[in-house]
């Protein structure tokens, strides 16, 4: 379970152009459920996602992950938490250009000191599961949108995290690929994983596999979303 208590995130704090991306927000995300954060651009969805995933720290308030207060954790522990708990799928996939699909997927496990052969085997297995094993040695810049997204999902799942975080996962996909993505998410849910996504795509937030939809506007949760 992920719990936000009165969380505020202010960018450029103290400067003239300071603004609150998230303001005094309370939120609970249940384990083994699919939660979608929806809202217009600039509403604070992505900021919320980075706070959930420990990629940024709140300006004030507290965040609990699996009953552990993580707001004031030193950077080293926060990194460890990202390593063990979260897998990220970014809106623009954020694959590293110039590297192959396989190398990108293996990236999270690279600094852990595990034997390369073993990591490679696990990466191949994931690529097979996501039906892109034939592209394993292709450079990521040669992939189509759907292939790049499946590569990003494989990279997010390589360390077998209990929580998958995805930022606008269908924004760059056509309808067919969006449905295929939702099938993958259903599979993950069936495996007992928690999924948190941002999306303003009705195909996502209206999907029957989604357990909770949270509407965000101006950094706050809307009580009566339209």
């Amino acid at each position: 379970m992920i719990v936000f208590e009165n969380v505020t995130k202010t960018y450029n704090e103290g400067a003239e152009n300071a603004f609150n991306a998230i303001l005094n927000l309370d939120l609970t995300i249940n384990s083994r459920e699919i939660t979608v954060l929806r809202g217009p651009s600039g509403s604070g969805k992505t900021t919320l996602l980075t706070l959930i995933g420990g990629m940024a720290r709140p300006t004030s308030g507290r965040i609990h992950v699996a009953e552990r207060e993580v707001t004031s954790l030193p950077e080293r522990f926060l990194t460890k938490m990202r390593q063990d708990t979260f897998g990220f799928v970014f809106q623009s996939f954020n694959l590293i250009k110039g590297l192959s699909v396989l190398d990108n997927v293996m990236l999270p496990l690279t600094p852990l000191g595990r034997p390369r052969n073993q990591i490679r085997k696990e990466a191949y297995a994931l690529l097979e599961r996501l039906h892109i094993q034939s592209k394993a040695h292709n450079l990521v810049e040669t992939l189509s949108g759907g292939e790049a997204q499946r590569t990003a999902i494989a990279r997010a799942l390589i360390n077998n995290p209990p929580v998958l975080i995805a930022d606008e996962p269908t924004a760059n996909l056509d309808t067919g690929l969006s449905y295929a993505f939702m099938d993958i998410i259903k599979e993950l849910k069936d495996q007992g994983k928690t999924v948190v996504m941002t999306s303003h795509d009705p195909l996502v937030w209206k999907s029957e596999i989604v357990d909770q939809v949270i509407s965000v506007r101006d950094g706050k949760i809307e009580s009566n979303p339209t």
């Binding site: 990629m55 590293i96 590297l99 690279t110």
Partner: protein, 378 residues
């Protein structure tokens, strides 16, 4: 330990892949780096070997040289002074030497004309010449060397041998002739010498004997072998210093260049750091990876350039820097230096080239790596 090795292997794999992704930039950087190290290493290797060569050659030189000085200028010394020096206790093998310079208007070169020791007697009418003179005058054994005295008289001397190229550092411009030819050529009376030389029975007494000579011949300058060696040392050090001072500028430019290339992290590099942090890399992982990257570039370029400089100096006679380092003479010696590497010099060069580069690379990476991945990616 096994985990540590596996971790380093994985990071090196990733680093190499990263280097290949930015081929042009990294190759450019390595080329500039190699150029700087190559020139610095050439100067250091060359001057160090010259010093070593000079000290080996001078080990056979007389321990003390006595020159007469009149009005602060070197003057001819008389035979009676040789008798005085010979009688000093502890002195042995005192003898007069005849040597001088001759400016050859034909090719604008200075030759050193000299009468050799008694052991290397040369017949009247014959000469032995250094390889530099042979090259300048296109002479071989059996051919004739023509020299004109300062009174316009032509001297014809047959070349009986060319001096060994192994000693070319000191013999390149040498013309050895008989005592009679020498005295006739310079119109010297039979009772004078250019200077006197002697050895000492007990080598620890050199300074003492030199003091005694100064006392009995107050109008003379006494030079010990160590003095000559020190002069060579300072001469080569001076030339090396001038070059290194000039190269210091080049080194500074390189550091600025490296700093500019590595510190100005591009948006894609910053984003890459953000991605790595987001997928679970620690700051130390990123720093280790970047450390490998800078070490591979700097150490690779250093080893490549140092090997090139070694070959340049010891197998190609330092062709690029020869005129600057060998001296003012027209007759540059052509000789192969004995390979000689000073570990302290290697470490100094390594420290002043690799260390600044690694620091220039790591500082900005560290600054980018310690902030939240979210900030880096934005």
């Amino acid at each position: 330990m096994k985990i540590w090795i596996e971790r380093q292997r994985s990071l090196i794999d990733f680093t190499v892949a990263g280097l290949l992704r930015r081929k042009v930039r990294n190759l450019g950087l390595m080329a500039v780096y190699s150029c700087v190290v190559f020139i610095l290493a050439t100067v250091m290797l060359f001057t160090h070997s010259l010093r070593k060569e000079a000290s080996v050659l001078l080990s056979d030189a007389p321990e003390i040289t006595v020159q007469r000085v009149i009005m602060g200028r070197h003057a001819l010394i008389e035979h009676t002074d040789l008798d005085v020096v010979s009688k000093i206790r502890g002195a042995r093998h005192a003898r007069g030497r005849l040597w001088g310079y001759f400016y050859d208007t034909a090719n604008g070169a200075n030759y050193t004309l000299m009468v050799p020791d008694k052991v290397h007697t040369i017949k009247q009418g014959q000469v032995q010449i250094g390889a530099g003179v042979a090259r300048a005058r296109d002479l071989k054994k059996g051919k004739f060397l023509f020299l004109t005295t300062n009174r316009g008289k032509l001297f014809k001397l047959q070349v009986s041998g060319i001096l060994s190229t192994e000693s070319e550092l000191v013999s390149s411009d040498l013309v050895l002739m008989s005592e009679q030819d020498y005295r006739n050529f310079f119109r010297l009376p039979s009772n004078v010498y250019t200077d006197l030389v002697l050895n000492v029975r007990n080598s620890r007494e050199v300074t003492k004997i030199a003091e005694k000579i100064s006392a009995v011949l107050p109008d003379s300058r006494v030079i010990t072998r160590d003095d000559i060696l020190r002069t060579y040392e300072s001469l080569f050090s001076w030339r090396e210093g001038i070059l290194l001072a000039l190269l210091g500028g080049a080194l500074c430019s390189f550091i600025i260049f490296a700093w500019d290339k590595t510190s100005g992290l591009s948006a894609s590099e910053r984003q890459e750091i953000g991605i790595l942090k987001a997928v679970g890399w620690e700051t130390s992982d990123i720093l280790t990876m970047k450390l490998w990257e800078s070490v591979l570039i700097s150490l690779g370029a250093f080893l490549f350039a140092y090997t090139l400089a070694y070959l340049h100096v010891f197998y190609f006679s330092a062709g690029l820097l020869e005129p600057v380092l060998k001296g003012w003479a027209i007759l540059y010696p052509q000789f192969h230096l004995t390979p000689e590497v000073d570990p302290l010099q290697v470490m100094t060069l390594l420290f002043f080239t690799v260390f600044p580069y690694v620091a220039a690379t790591l500082v900005p990476i560290w600054r980018a790596a310690i902030i939240d991945p979210d900030t880096v990616m934005r």
